[in-house]
Symmetry: C2
Subunit: 202 residues, 2 copies
């Protein structure tokens, strides 16, 4: 039997990471987010900050930038591809260990055939997310709107580049939730309930 | 205070209409689907079958086809635009009467400013939907896959033409659910629970 894994894709600033942690705590299963980044950094030899940024975002927002980024190589492949391969391997290993929550990093796509995935997408409107990132990370030189737009664009480009699927398309998820209108707690409750009640996929 | 309205956008064959009816029954509020079509037909003078088909689907799948369709006019506007205007008016009137469920017909967009909407999107994968439409409507000359692809394309084109928004983009909904993996009953339960617990929008 495949392990039941909750994968959480989330817009930057939507609180999806918090949702993931709280769902895992509620269900008594591990949540891999920061720990995943540390494992990937350790195994790849790349800096944690590099993994954090480049394991989920393109350097720039375009496909062309990805192709150009392939110029910097590591054993004949680009750093970004090397990171993708290492990250993919670790996500697959974690999914074999037991039920868990994995935040971001295309885990929904990576685990599509080997786990009983509950694919979740968490989003919120710009105003709600802007408020959240200013509260969490403080003011920056760029406006919160500019930071959000940049992150959205680069995360979508990364996802599409490696999965050839459209990020944020509702048809790709079992459940997609607006944390801004529903609230973090309701999102946690819905996802935990689905985890407990969804028919098992062999 | 605005009325709380559940708008259900759904892929053809996903069971979204059934979800809508069952949510309404559970909450003791009306569900406007067939009744809405009848009201629009009565007020517009257009045939019920015409309203059913052209109040939600473009004639063909493209924007150009919509522009060309404007050739057939009624008092200087195309039949399709005349139907849109009538349908919009009736949806707004229904939303003023009291809480309800409205299935399809861009109600999420039409009511965005005048109701406290819970915007739902229901979808399922091709195999599940194909099975459902064959059970419900029987075999046709075209394969179920062809029928689904055609309906998806024309519904998306209609939505985009009148709302300038992307149909099926998770960011446009409070909640998007896969009725194929979660089951109709779980979808009903989640939506009814959100109806009862979502913070009120003034």
């Amino acid at each position: 039997m495949k392990n039941r894994i909750i994968t959480i894709s989330r817009q930057f600033g939507s609180g999806g990471r918090t949702v993931g942690k709280e769902v895992a705590a509620k269900l008594g299963i591990p949540c891999y987010d920061n720990e995943l980044i540390e494992k990937v950094a350790e195994e790849s030899g790349l800096a944690k900050e590099y993994v954090e940024e480049h394991g989920e975002y393109t350097t720039h927002g375009s496909w062309l930038a990805n192709v150009l980024a392939a110029g910097r190589t590591y054993n004949g492949i680009s750093n970004q591809d090397y990171l993708w391969i290492t990250q993919r391997k670790i996500i697959m290993e974690l999914a074999q260990k037991g039920p868990c929550v994995i935040v971001g990093r295309c885990a929904d796509y990576i685990l599509r055939d080997i786990a009983d995935c509950i694919k979740v997408y968490v989003h919120a409107d710009m105003d709600k997310r802007a408020e959240r990132i200013v509260n969490l990370y403080g003011e920056r030189e760029d406006s919160p709107m500019k930071r959000l737009k940049d992150k959205d664009k680069r995360r979508a480009a990364y996802y599409q580049f490696y999965t050839e699927m459209e990020w944020g398309n509702a048809n790709n998820y079992d459940v997609a939730l607006d944390s801004g209108t529903l609230g973090i707690e309701k999102c946690v409750e819905i996802i935990a309930d689905i985890y407990k009640s969804k028919p098992i996929v062999e």
